[in-house]
Point group: C2
Chain length 298, copies 2
């Protein structure tokens, strides 16, 4: 079966439609790649581009878009609310189908070298692709932003993983890496008491002793004209911490307060596998193989 990778590059341009158009055209022009989404934000002065494709095609699309951004965005003039260090600020690869994380790391590494060599842009490797433990988190790499990095890039601890130890004169620097697909998942409670949602969020989030791959907050939302307490969750690795486990834990913790879960919602996209895992768990499926899914044989 064919391999599928998602790529979500962020470019430091959210205001000039013709520049955004020129960058996304580079993605559209590569056969075997499909552009799924383009979200530009003028105040952030940033655009988030989402595409999927066969690994080598996705790498080519990412490279071409990065090259175009280096031509059209001048970091000496770029201003916006969102932290950034380069014209192409960050390029994460995400395994979608028949891809391991190791293969995504490899792909990120290849792209990083190509950008460094052919475009002479310094590149940092982050998240799963990080070679240096202090570069796992994006904010750590982006510390001081474009302006700060310009003076610090020569220091040993800030030297890029690939490319020159100086910023590209207009494109700055770029971060490339691999991470898991992030699922935005909300669970609604049959109470308006946001404190209960906050307590439950603390039970499941890693930071408070909960699940390793869960970020969560308790918030109050309007559903059908009334206040509903909601546990809003970022599932940062749905294979490491699956949806059903989080759902069952929220249900169990809510019961302590005499509160029921009235529903949950997935915001935006999810890989099929995350939902297949839910079906497998609840039906206690034995020996289920992804190839048994009819559509996967096509």
């Amino acid at each position: 079966m064919s391999k599928l990778v998602e790529c979500v590059p962020n470019f430091s341009e959210g205001r000039r439609p013709e520049v955004i158009e020129a960058i996304t055209a580079e993605v559209k022009n590569i056969p075997g790649v499909k552009l799924l989404d383009v979200k530009a934000d003028a105040s952030h002065n940033r655009v988030v581009v989402t595409f999927v494709g066969e690994p080598q095609a996705a790498k080519q699309a990412a490279f071409n878009a990065c090259k175009k951004a280096a031509e059209l965005i001048d970091m000496e003039k770029q201003r916006g609310e969102h932290p950034r260090i380069g014209a192409t600020d960050v390029i994460p690869f995400i395994p979608v189908k028949n891809m391991t994380m190791e293969e995504c790391v490899q792909l990120a590494d290849e792209l990083a070298q190509e950008i460094a060599e052919k475009l002479e842009i310094p590149v940092y490797l982050y998240e799963e692709a990080a070679k240096i433990s202090t570069r796992k988190a994006l904010p750590d790499i982006r510390k001081g932003q474009y302006e700060g990095l310009k003076t610090e890039i020569g220091k040993p601890e800030r030297r890029p993983d690939y490319g020159p130890a100086r910023l590209h004169p207009s494109a700055g620097a770029t971060v490339v890496g691999a991470r898991q697909f992030l699922i935005a998942y909300n669970i609604n409670l049959d109470t308006s008491d946001v404190q209960i949602a906050k307590k439950i969020a603390n039970c499941i989030r890693e930071a408070k002793g909960g699940y390793r791959y869960v970020r969560a907050m308790g918030v109050s939302v309007q559903v059908g004209g009334r206040d509903v307490a909601q546990v809003t969750i970022n599932m940062v690795n749905y294979q490491g911490t699956p949806l059903f486990r989080v759902f069952e834990t929220v249900k169990s913790e809510a019961a302590r307060y005499g509160v029921n879960v009235i529903g949950s919602e997935i915001i935006g996209l999810t890989p099929m596998q995350a939902l297949l895992d839910v079906a497998e768990f609840y039906l206690r499926l034995d020996g289920f193989d992804r190839k048994q899914v009819l559509e996967d044989n096509l």
Copy 2:
């Protein structure tokens, strides 16, 4: 999104590989169609061919295969254990993706007319495509088989829906129709007492007051060297009676005997939607849209 239909024609040849090869070649030769499975049975003297494709392409593949079978199979000489009335015995269309049952019925009707007109084979419409209520069930149409139908086809109640009121001299008659995807689903109990499985099967099967689209039996199977009582199920319409409802009912009925469900298994293929429905049910998903599945955007 593209429409996808499954087609599972049964041909009355399970012994001569060169004939089976010639028939399936007609399916493989149509662009937009993918051959998924070929299961021949020598004692039945029958082959079950499974393919999927875009509706018009699937219809063309079915017609071409039917034409080839009419050339190569002589019903005057054909003998086998499985009941049959023609070289191409039955052609069901099954909605898989972005297809309604009505569209499958329409497709079956078009194919039936084409076979009748171009090949001069009498055609009966069955299941969801039946125009006459007594022709819903295949065994009713096949009563007396090829030999019996030869003398009875002139009777008003046995006249075909399309084509001549006499059998084709070598190819006999054909049944065309539309039905839901059938999921073969087994649930294993933590007991060796097959009587409990039989009682539970009776709770869920339509024939005994259970769910409308469920056929079920209690059987004894070997799992890891020991006897396990199993409820073996044919889910004949997974949208009408979903997997999770059957699973939960079996769990609840088993509890009455102090028995647990140790697991379940899907045999062969299942449409993705059947498992998405399971995930939606257990996570109590609100407003989930199939388009949120990443792979469905490709």
